[in-house]
């Protein structure tokens, strides 16, 4: 569609008297032609709304507005991330470390999983029924016991510096444990 044709159809277009297909052709022309766009725009009845502007509002309109904003700010002020330099990166780092720990822990402790341990490091099935009778694990690598009768899994490992008395840690996982 050229400019002459489009401009000749301006009034029926603005009056809503054209077929939708013809309206779409005019639309496509208007989007490409700034001159026709301006001519159509100048006669469009929706120009009525151009004068709405932003009239001033009386002070009474704003009663209670600032106190609400201030209250929301003060509720938020505990965090004040922008006033403590380095807090946000530190918080992100801590969150990352925690997430990594959860992923690694989940990898080892997921139900039904024995963990990526070498076969030799696993303690093998044990007839044990309680931690008091567990065999001590070899230092350095955790062992796993899976009492066949209960379905529980028991992880054992030791912590402590070389040359010192180690502390044995026993983790028992059983979905039937009710704390």
């Amino acid at each position: 569609m050229n400019c002459t044709t489009a401009r000749g159809l301006r009034d029926p277009y603005l009056g809503g008297g054209l077929a939708p297909a013809l309206e779409r052709r005019i639309d496509r022309h208007l989007v490409r032609c700034p001159d026709c766009w301006s001519r159509f725009e100048a006669a469009d009845p929706s120009l009525l709304f151009r004068g709405l502007g932003a009239p001033p509002l009386p002070d009474s309109f704003w009663a209670g507005f600032w106190p609400r904003v201030r209250a929301a700010i003060q509720a938020d002020r505990g965090a004040l991330p922008f006033r403590i330099p380095g807090l946000r990166p530190a918080a992100l780092l801590a969150a990352g470390v925690l997430l990594a720990a959860l992923i690694v822990g989940g990898w080892f402790l997921w139900p039904g999983r024995t963990g990526p341990l070498p076969e030799a490091a696993r303690g093998g099935p044990s007839p044990l029924s309680g931690p008091g009778s567990l065999r001590p694990a070899a230092r350095g690598l955790p062992t796993i016991d899976s009492p066949p009768a209960t379905g529980a899994r028991i992880y054992r490992f030791e912590v402590g510096a070389e040359g010192e008395l180690p502390t044995e840690v026993i983790l028992i996982f059983d979905e039937r444990i009710d704390l």
Binding site: P45, L48, L52, F82
Partner: protein
């Protein structure tokens, strides 16, 4: 005191300085939100959220650059979200509602102008409820606030041609409803009988 100084003081935690910023910007923020949301309380809620976000982001805002673009962009986007949420619950038909914002603005205008503005505002509020959020935002930014299509496109995060398409569709819908419901405001155009609205 200039805006940059207020911002610097607010960044140091000075609530009085921040209140001065809020007082200086609240009307513009409110009206932009109101044009898009179409309800006074919802627009006030949007304005409140905008200023809380401003407080939270003061550390990232350059005091030496104008604050208005950030405020305007944030207001428009929050208002679009609020309008989309409100459309889920509000019927699209109904009589003209009481428009306290338009009515209260009358207090600051000459009586005739205020009445005319309140009437046009009511008509816009009624007709614009039928627009999509994107059409409404494009119409408000370009037709009412006077931004160019490319400026509105930057605010809305779309291409200028998309804004022009939204504008054409918004104008068409407003025009048809105006001709149908308020022909006395249609500037001499008369609705064609063969194009009746469903």
């Amino acid at each position: 005191m200039d805006e940059a100084l207020w911002i610097r003081r607010a960044r140091e935690g000075d609530l009085d300085a921040f209140e001065a910023i809020v007082r200086g910007k609240r009307e513009r923020v409110f009206w932009t939100a109101y044009r898009i949301v179409g309800a006074e309380e919802a627009a006030k809620d949007v304005a409140q959220t905008v200023f809380v976000r401003l407080w939270q982001n003061l550390g990232r805002i350059d005091p030496d650059r104008p604050l208005d673009p950030w405020l305007h962009r944030t207001t428009v986007n929050l208002a679009i979200d609020a309008f989309r949420r409100s459309r889920r619950f509000l019927p699209l038909t109904g009589d003209l509602e009481d428009r306290p914002a338009a009515a209260r603005s009358a207090a600051a205008d000459p009586p005739d102008a205020a009445l005319a503005r309140a009437e046009v505002q009511s008509i816009f509020d009624r007709l614009a409820r039928h627009l999509t959020a994107a059409q409404r935002a494009a119409f408000v930014l370009v037709e009412i606030e006077g931004y160019r299509a490319d400026e509105a496109a930057r605010t809305l995060g779309v291409r200028p041609s998309t804004v022009r398409n939204h504008l054409l569709n918004a104008r068409r819908l407003l025009r048809r409803r105006l001709l149908q419901l308020y022909p006395e405001y249609a500037g001499g155009f008369r609705r064609r009988p063969e194009r009746e609205e469903p």
